[in-house]
């Protein structure tokens, strides 16, 4: 058994080199200035109005996206977990297969769909319906986020629901609960771990994306991810970028902490 433990060696080495040390580097860069002295200025930069606004908007959009994903995903997961048709292939069809079409392209395609003279508006015009004009607005970004991250909400919830003991549902019905009561009192509470893990897997990437806002926001919407990306890639200010990343990390950890308080055990998971 001792020797078996050694098998974790490569993994340990790997995670120390490429997970732990890099994180410490961020902390180090974030807390030093360009000339190497200790400073809190990089962190303090988050309080400038434009950065605060970007952070606030990121939180808001991520929250919206998470709520919409949850509302869309739950019924979907329910249907999939109950249907007798081979659900696994449907899931693959809906969620895994599109991944083979590059994520940037898929997001970019929404531009073509949403533009003023885009596909959707042309169809709407044919039907004599009013045009929708959301491209280059936060709405388009939320749509893009929902599109990109929906699978990460559906899969964990689905996984919990398929494993749900059907007799537990039967028992509730047996004890007099109608289908609504059964859902609210049994199915929903039982699927909390899946919901939590879905929220985590949607909220974090939505909160930190810069690609989607870049592609669908028309450069008018600046999220905290954009700020960090620009600081690194264009401003080339690693100290400031690291400082802002640190703040972002703290925010994400804090949000997850709040969410996880409702998760008693770690039974949920996407895989």
């Amino acid at each position: 058994m001792k020797r078996r433990r050694l098998l974790a060696g490569p993994y340990l080495f790997w995670s120390v080199s490429f997970i732990i040390i890099p994180l410490f580097l961020i902390v180090w860069y974030g807390l030093t200035s360009a000339d190497g002295g200790f400073t809190l200025q990089n962190i303090a930069k988050i309080t400038t109005p434009e950065n605060l606004k970007a952070l606030g908007l990121s939180l808001l959009l991520a929250f919206l996206c998470t709520v919409i994903c949850l509302l869309l995903a739950y019924p979907l997961a329910m249907i999939l977990s109950q249907s007798s048709l081979s659900q696994s292939s449907f899931i693959v069809l809906i969620f895994i297969l599109p991944m083979w079409m590059n994520f940037l392209l898929r997001t970019l395609a929404w531009q073509t769909l949403l533009e003023k003279n885009g596909v959707i508006n042309q169809v709407l015009a044919l039907l004599h319906l009013p045009a929708i004009d959301i491209i280059n607005t936060p709405y388009a970004i939320v749509l893009g986020m929902v599109y990109d991250f929906l699978p990460f909400m559906v899969l964990p919830i689905y996984n919990v629901l398929v494993k749900l003991d059907q007799d537990m549902v039967n028992a509730a019905r047996d004890l007099g609960a109608n289908s609504v009561q059964t859902f609210l009192k049994i199915i929903l509470p039982q699927s909390v771990p899946g919901i939590i893990s879905g929220i985590t897997m949607v909220f974090v990437p939505a909160m930190t994306t810069f690609v989607i806002s870049d592609l669908l926001g028309g450069g008018k919407v600046l999220l905290i991810g954009n700020v960090i990306e620009q600081t690194f890639k264009q401003g080339n200010n690693w100290n400031l970028g690291s400082g802002l990343s640190l703040v972002l990390m703290v925010f994400v950890i804090a949000s997850m902490g709040i969410v996880n308080k409702y998760d008693k055990d770690e039974t949920g998971g996407a895989f």
Binding site: D165, D167, N170, A171, D174, L175, G176, Q181, P189
Partner: protein, 357 residues
């Protein structure tokens, strides 16, 4: 033991072309402890689920207290179920589990608290209100599942192999507990099991099922002593099932030897199956037996010895308080009353049953 409480008539059910129940007819009397007994896949659980409302039969009717409840959803039925794997709500405490049904019915707080206390006392788990179901042992979870069902004062309690997951000792204890509870509650129990001993111990009536058909309905004694066919005989306890020919009334030829028996009305020279329980086989001196044989196996079983005796090319299973060492020549004798004569299976289904078993 008076009027019919539940009446199942002509129930059929198939899953994907595979017939599970075929034209099943069965009634359950009030206050009865009725057990559905059979091997897995015999349709007993499906029958229970149809009574509980978790399955709808393809055809046939379920009458409860004179009312057709065939298509009534489970929450509208006056019966409750104890599930095989308990199905306790893991996100609720023991008390919340028990209170679930009562809260749905909007009972008062006081009433609910009293009921929880009463139920926990009934199942011998006082003081467990705030425990989480997952912290309990299998036996305790089982009791909570029962408590959760009975607080709703159902007219019928359905139990789906409730003791299946428990170990032997606990299972035996729970059997007595269940009988006690049944007496205290004075309601009808419909019990599903594949364990014949459990069925014999607890039931008023046993329904032996196989492959979607009822094989025999009767009291435990009748089922044990007078199995109607080879399947029942084989399924209930160990038996010697021998081919025989009914020479005439009260006389049967088994393996070439003629035995006295008490059965009549099979006609003359009719092929039959003969059941002789191992404890009814008397081993005597070779010259005193109806046929002779040699002991080939011997095991000490505590209360008795189990032996195999080869006689007339048949391995007889014998239970006896007396020991005969391997190799001993013995005579076999059976009291006429202990010889049970059964008709040879006529239908193909029964034939199939025989082969399967």
């Amino acid at each position: 033991m008076s009027n019919k409480l539940i009446d199942l008539s002509n129930i059929s059910k198939a899953y994907g072309g595979h017939t599970v129940l075929d034209e099943l007819n069965l009634y359950i009397r009030e206050n009865e402890f009725l057990t559905l007994l059979g091997p897995s896949g015999c349709g007993k659980t499906t029958t229970l689920r149809i009574i509980g409302g978790f399955e709808t039969p393809d055809s046939g009717q379920v009458i409860f207290d004179g009312q057709d409840i065939t298509h009534l959803p489970p929450n509208k039925r006056q019966l409750n179920t104890v599930f095989q794997k308990y199905a306790l709500f893991s996100h609720m405490s023991v008390a919340e589990n028990i209170a679930f049904g009562l809260k749905i019915k909007n009972k008062s707080r006081q009433y609910i608290d009293d009921k929880i206390k009463y139920a926990l006392k009934l199942v011998n788990l006082e003081g467990y209100e705030n425990r989480s179901p997952e912290s309990l042992s299998g036996g305790q979870q089982q009791r909570i599942a029962i408590a959760r069902a009975i607080v709703n004062e159902p007219k019928v309690l359905l139990l789906d192999e409730p003791l299946g997951a428990l170990d032997l000792k606990l299972r035996q204890d729970m059997q007595y507990e269940l009988i006690r509870m049944k007496k205290e509650l004075g309601i009808t129990f419909v019990y599903v099991t594949h364990d014949q001993e459990e069925a014999l111990t607890m039931s008023d009536t046993i329904v032996v099922m196989n492959q979607g058909y009822i094989q025999q309905i009767g009291t435990p004694e009748k089922i044990y002593n007078e199995p109607e066919n080879a399947f029942v005989a084989d399924f209930i306890g160990d038996s010697n099932i021998l081919p025989g020919i009914m020479v005439e009334d009260r006389l049967v030829n088994i393996l070439g030897a003629t035995f006295q028996c008490v059965d009549e009305g099979f006609g003359k020279n009719t092929p039959v199956d003969v059941v002789i329980r191992p404890e009814d086989v008397d081993l005597v001196k070779p010259e005193d037996g109806t046929i002779r044989g040699v002991v080939t196996h011997l095991i000490f079983k505590g209360v008795h010895y189990e032996m195999e005796v080869t006689a007339n090319n048949y391995e007889w299973l014998v239970h006896s308080y007396e020991m005969f060492p391997v190799g001993t020549e013995v005579g076999i004798r059976v009291v006429p009353f202990d010889i049970q004569i059964m008709n040879k299976p006529i239908s193909e289904d029964e034939e199939a049953v025989n082969l399967e078993a």
